[in-house]
Structures are given as structure tokens and as C-alpha cells.
């Protein structure tokens, strides 16, 4: 029996039922995230102490230390949280939509679409003369692919099975295009592109943060409100229709939300893989709840994974800065393997 908390407005006009365990877990994760962020802020290639960080945050003076903490590290830490959160949420929505525990933005082709667009842009040498366009181009790629997938998979509505197949096919084709561009590029472009493809938060700046935040601010609350329809759908299409859920309309909405979240995250951090796959699974181990309760947990877990991955990449091989994407799997895969040992027989 799950304990829940019910909040009502006076007069019983609105009420919200909150699962206590979800609340507790979310709070715990949030606290962990906050502490980790401050610790991450205090680490870097230049040695700084905890006291330095707190001092600078409280009282920013014009000095190299302030520059390092407020302009180099802080935007990067915030981006790690935002991108990880977006990817975790996108993965959860997609897995619920497609009803396949293996679904994630990378498998379905969204990441590949963003990658192909980004690498093409890098290959053409940033024709417009500014690379501030890289992120919008990658977003465009993600949305175009999603459009293609939807168009190709649409036969009187979206069937999850067809969605996955089409997504996998397009992902493979786009990966091939990306590889071709890598092979034809001069070495410097190829390495830039490869680092982007691995997923890196190097040189995240405040204008990246301000560009990414609106996407999360828009999509996450919307998802939170609408996700109960995914629970209805998991009981079967007829049941969902019977419960009053507009099946195909909602499926389209969820696809759009997942693409927006994943696309924007990938546009700024490169093709970080695996978070969208594993954060939802880890969330399910911590909390048994419907998708609405799982969303904040999956988002926070995604944020934590990327924060740690980026942290490791920054401090382990100073002065080299290794992309966070490398360590995401390093953290996630062993846990995933552990999950496999503890899995019940009735899987997906």
C-alpha cells in the first residue's frame, strides 16, 4: 500500500495526490545533487578550495579565481544538470511511449539526426562564420528526423513497434552519413566532430545555459501534467481509449516532448548517449510509481550521472579534458549490469 499525501485547495476545487516515497526520493536526490554541484564547483584543473568557492559565490570580485569559478565552472556544472535532466526525462517518456525497455533517444534516431546535422555543419566549416548556430542546427536535425520517423511510421496512427523499427533504420543511415563526413574531413574538423559525437560539456558558457533553460522550463511541466496518459496506455489501447485518453494525439505529444528535450540537450552537449536509456531504469529501481512520479526521479538521476561523468572527465587527466560522454557509460553500464542480475524473469 503506497502511502500518499493529498493536498487540497480550500473548497476542494483542486487536489493533488502525491506519493510519499516519490517525494522522499526526489528530495534526497535533489539534496545529493546540490551537494555534488558545490563539490564539483570546487574541483578543476586549477586547485581551489571549498572556502574559495563559497567566498566567490557570495562575493564575486574581479579576479582570475572569479573568472574560473563563475565563468568556466559554474555554467558547465549547470549545463551538466540541465542536459542530464533533459535526457533522463526524454528517455523515460520514450520508453513509456514505445513500451520497450531498450528505447532511448539514441536508439530511435533522434541523437543520430542531431549528430548528422551537426557534423554536416562542422564539415561545411560553419559557413555563416559563427558557430553559435551549431546548437540550432543540431536541434533542427533532431526535429527533422523525428518528423521523418513519424511520417514513415504513421499508418492510421502511431504504432510503437513501427516507430522503433523506423527509428532504428534511420539511426543507422544517419550514422553512416556522419561517418562518411568524418572520413572526408580534414583532421582538425574530424576530431572536433568526433569530440562532439562523444558528448562534451567543454567550454559551456552562460549563453548556452540561457538558451537551454526555456526548453526544460516548457517541456518538463507539460510532461508532468500529461504523463498519466502514458500509464493509461500501458494498460492497452482499448483501456486507454475507454478511460478517455486521446490515444494518437497524446502519443504525438509525447513524441514531440521527448524530441524537444533530447534534441535540445544533445544540441548543446553533443551526442551523449546512454543516459536516456539507463536513468529511467534506475528510477524504476528506486520508486514504484506511475510515470508522473518517475519523471522527477529520472530527471534527477540523469542530472547526477552527467554531473559526475563531467566531473571525472575534468579532473582525472589534467590538463586534458576528456568528454563526459566517455564516463557516462563507465558509470552507467556497471549499474545496468547489476540490474540484470537482480531482474525478475518477467521482463518487457
Amino acid at each position: 500500500m503506497t502511502r500518499s499525501l493529498v493536498l487540497r485547495t480550500p473548497g476542494d476545487r483542486w487536489s493533488v495526490k502525491l506519493n510519499v516515497r516519490v517525494l522522499v526520493v526526489t528530495l534526497a536526490l535533489a539534496v545529493l545533487l546540490a551537494i555534488s554541484s558545490v563539490l564539483a564547483l570546487a574541483s578543476g584543473s586549477h586547485p581551489t578550495s571549498f572556502v574559495d568557492v563559497l567566498g566567490t559565490l557570495a562575493n564575486p570580485a574581479q579576479s582570475e579565481l572569479t573568472l574560473i569559478i563563475l565563468e568556466i565552472r559554474l555554467p558547465r556544472v549547470i549545463m551538466a544538470i540541465l542536459v542530464g535532466g533533459a535526457l533522463g526525462s526524454a528517455g523515460l517518456i520514450l520508453q513509456g511511449l514505445v513500451r520497450n525497455p531498450l528505447a532511448s533517444p539514441d536508439v530511435i534516431g533522434i541523437t543520430s539526426g542531431a549528430s548528422a546535422a551537426a557534423v554536416l555543419f562542422l564539415w561545411l566549416g560553419g559557413v555563416t562564420g559563427t558557430s553559435l548556430l551549431l546548437a540550432p542546427v543540431a536541434m533542427g536535425g533532431a526535429f527533422s528526423v523525428a518528423l521523418c520517423i513519424t511520417a514513415l511510421a504513421w499508418q492510421q496512427g502511431i504504432s510503437p513497434a513501427r516507430l522503433v523499427l523506423v527509428g532504428v533504420g534511420l539511426a543507422a543511415a544517419l550514422t553512416a552519413v556522419t561517418t562518411l563526413l568524418l572520413v572526408l574531413s580534414p583532421d582538425s574538423t574530424a576530431m572536433n566532430a568526433y569530440i562532439w559525437l562523444t558528448g562534451s560539456l567543454y567550454a559551456s558558457q552562460w549563453h548556452d545555459v540561457t538558451a537551454l533553460t526555456p526548453w526544460l522550463a516548457l517541456c518538463l511541466p507539460l510532461a508532468l501534467i500529461k504523463l498519466r496518459h502514458l500509464d493509461a496506455q500501458s494498460m492497452g489501447e482499448d483501456m486507454a481509449l475507454g478511460l478517455g485518453s486521446a490515444l494518437h494525439g497524446h502519443r504525438l505529444l509525447f513524441l514531440v516532448l521527448a524530441v524537444a528535450l533530447a534534441g535540445s540537450a544533445v544540441a548543446y552537449a553533443g551526442a551523449v548517449g546512454f543516459i536516456g536509456l539507463i536513468a529511467p531504469h534506475m528510477a524504476r529501481r528506486l520508486v514504484t510509481s506511475g510515470h508522473t512520479g518517475l519523471l522527477p526521479v529520472a530527471a534527477l538521476i540523469g542530472a547526477l550521472i552527467l554531473l559526475y561523468a563531467d566531473w571525472i572527465g575534468r579532473v582525472i587527466f589534467i590538463p586534458r579534458d576528456l568528454p563526459a560522454g566517455i564516463f557516462v557509460a563507465g558509470i552507467g553500464a556497471p549499474f545496468f549490469v547489476y540490474l540484470l542480475y537482480r531482474l525478475r524473469r518477467n521482463l518487457g
Binding site: 586549477h46 574560473i68 569530440i195 567550454a203 558558457q205 586534458r320
Partner: protein, 315 residues
């Protein structure tokens, strides 16, 4: 007495004036990504790519921070002597921003193809200049000379280069006569493929010296990679310059390709005009010192006499 005092006063004022103006001088340097406003003459310079490191050394500056070289780590042998006390900032692709900030430089020089994204951050740390074309070492020299206040030195280096180019052109025209301008191809061998360069540092220098490129090589783009020995005929030219890393797998590939009948059919091979050259100065240095060393090699390969060069410490 008053006359001497007056003269003394005027002389002192005149002596003070240049220094005063140097301390208060503000140079605005326009570069590919904007404008840099530099106060005085920068003493602490950070170089974020190989060409800038080369040029800094040529201008007589020891940078406070440079990026690592690609081979002969941490810095190419031909520059190592002058860079004993530098801090290394990681690789060109992702230089360590925190270390750069902590060095508190007065000037940062970056490359447009690599540092475009981090330019706003760099500019907050120190005035940053980014030349437009990575291979145009003369423009880079002029830009850095202006930014560091060593314009006279920069111009001297440039003039000396011009003189050498003229001398080379005269001598080689005398030697080759009708065959000048000679069509030359620039090749490189890797472990699993070979490359033809249509563009790049070596090509730029050779073009300036008057060499021509084979018709097939006058295309857009940096060049092509060849994986199959069938395509060897694409490499054909009157003379061929080859560079490669000193690596057993690369050597093996070169030996395999150069023993193929199609290779032996190449015009350059038949005329015995295949020259192996130093990969660092031809492909990686990208600055005026590398250019001068390239020219030295060319004099040697064509058996031309070099005139005595005037004293120039780092040239």
C-alpha cells in the same frame, strides 16, 4: 648654465615621451572574429595553436603558455630550445581554460577552426586575436607583430622571407629553365591510407615559391585520402614531395605502395624526383620559422646554393 638646463630638460622630456606613449598606447587589432583592444605591449602571451607558437618564437617572445604539439611531444624539437619555461595547456582541440585564466595573460592567440566556440570566454580572460586563415603564416606574423608591439621585428622577418623567396625563384628558374614552373604534388602516407594535399601550409608556401600544382590537384578542399593502390595514378606530377611519420606501420605502407608497378609508372618516379621531407616543418609547424626551414630543405633537394643570411637570431 640655463642653456644646458634647458637642453637637459628638453632631452629628458623627449626621452620620457616615447615610454609614456608606449605605456598609454592602445592598439586595436582587427581579426577574424572581432576586435581586440590591447593596452601597451603584452608581455604574457598564450598561444593556442602550433602556428602561433612558431610565430611567437620568431618574434622573440617566450609565451607563458602553449598547447602541446602533435608529435615530438611536448613541443617540436625545432622550437623546444626557446620554450623551456612554458606551461603546457593540453591539446589544441581543448586547451585547459582554467590554466589559461590562472596564467593571467595579456594576449591570447587562437585558431579559427578550433577556438571559435571558446572565443567569447577567451576574450573575457584576455584580449584575444584569431587569424582568419590557419595556413597564411604571413598574415599571422603581421597580426601578432601588431598585437605584441613588435612591428619592426615582424617587418624585418617578412622582408627577409621575401628576399629568400626571390632568390629561390631566380636560382630554380636558372636551374630548371624550360621546365619551370614545375608541377609538384604533396603526398603523405599513413598506416592504412595515403593522402594528396590540395591545400594546406606546404601547398601555400610552394605556391608562393612559384611551383605549380597538377591539373587534377587544383580543386577545392583540403585534399583526398586514397585507400586503394589502384588510385596511384591520381598522384602523378613532375615532382613529388612525400612526408610521413616515423612509424613502422607507415613505413610498411609506403614500401608497399612504392613497389607497386603503378607507382613506378609515375612521372616523378621515372625522373627520380621523389623527395622525402620533414613532416613537422611541412605539415605541422605552420609559422614563419617552419616556412624558412621548408625553404632550406628545398634548396638542398634541388642542389641550389643559398646566399649568406644576415643575422637574425630566430630565423
Amino acid at each position: 648654465m640655463l642653456r644646458y638646463a634647458g637642453f637637459f630638460l628638453i632631452a629628458t622630456c623627449l626621452a620620457w615621451a616615447p615610454t609614456a606613449s608606449a605605456a598609454n598606447s592602445v592598439t586595436v587589432v582587427e581579426h577574424a572574429l572581432g576586435k581586440a583592444t590591447i593596452h601597451g605591449n603584452p608581455a604574457r602571451v598564450v598561444s593556442l595553436y602550433q602556428g602561433a607558437t612558431d610565430t611567437a618564437v620568431a618574434l622573440g617572445i617566450e609565451p607563458v603558455g602553449v598547447v602541446e604539439s602533435w608529435t615530438e611531444k611536448p613541443m617540436y624539437r625545432y622550437l623546444r630550445q626557446e620554450l623551456q619555461e612554458v606551461a603546457y595547456l593540453g591539446l589544441e582541440t581543448q586547451p585547459d581554460l582554467e590554466r589559461i585564466a590562472w596564467l593571467a595573460p595579456d594576449l591570447i592567440v587562437g585558431a579559427s577552426n578550433r577556438h571559435r566556440t571558446i572565443y567569447p570566454l577567451l576574450d573575457r580572460i584576455a584580449p584575444t586575436v584569431i587569424p582568419g586563415n590557419v595556413y597564411d603564416f604571413k598574415a599571422l606574423l603581421a597580426l601578432m607583430a601588431k598585437a605584441t608591439g613588435r612591428v619592426a621585428r615582424g617587418e624585418a622577418l617578412l622582408a627577409q622571407w621575401q628576399a629568400r623567396v626571390e632568390d629561390f625563384r631566380t636560382r630554380i628558374q636558372r636551374k630548371l629553365g624550360d621546365q619551370w614552373p614545375q608541377e609538384v604534388a604533396i603526398l603523405s602516407f599513413r598506416a592504412d591510407h595515403a593522402r594528396i594535399y590540395y591545400d594546406g601550409f606546404a601547398r601555400t608556401v610552394l605556391d608562393e615559391l612559384g611551383f605549380a600544382a597538377p591539373v587534377d590537384h587544383r580543386k577545392e578542399g583540403w585534399g583526398i585520402k586514397l585507400t586503394s593502390q589502384e588510385s596511384i595514378p591520381a598522384m602523378d606530377a613532375e615532382a613529388v614531395f612525400v612526408f610521413m611519420d616515423d612509424d613502422p606501420a607507415v613505413r610498411r605502407t609506403y614500401e608497399t605502395w612504392s613497389s607497386h608497378p603503378l607507382w613506378k609508372n609515375l612521372q616523378a618516379v621515372r625522373q627520380d624526383d621523389v623527395y622525402q621531407v620533414d613532416t613537422v616543418t611541412w605539415n605541422m609547424g605552420a609559422g614563419i620559422i617552419a616556412a624558412n626551414r621548408m625553404l632550406d630543405e628545398l634548396y638542398r633537394h634541388y642542389n641550389l646554393e643559398q646566399p649568406d643570411r644576415e643575422e637574425c637570431a630566430q630565423c
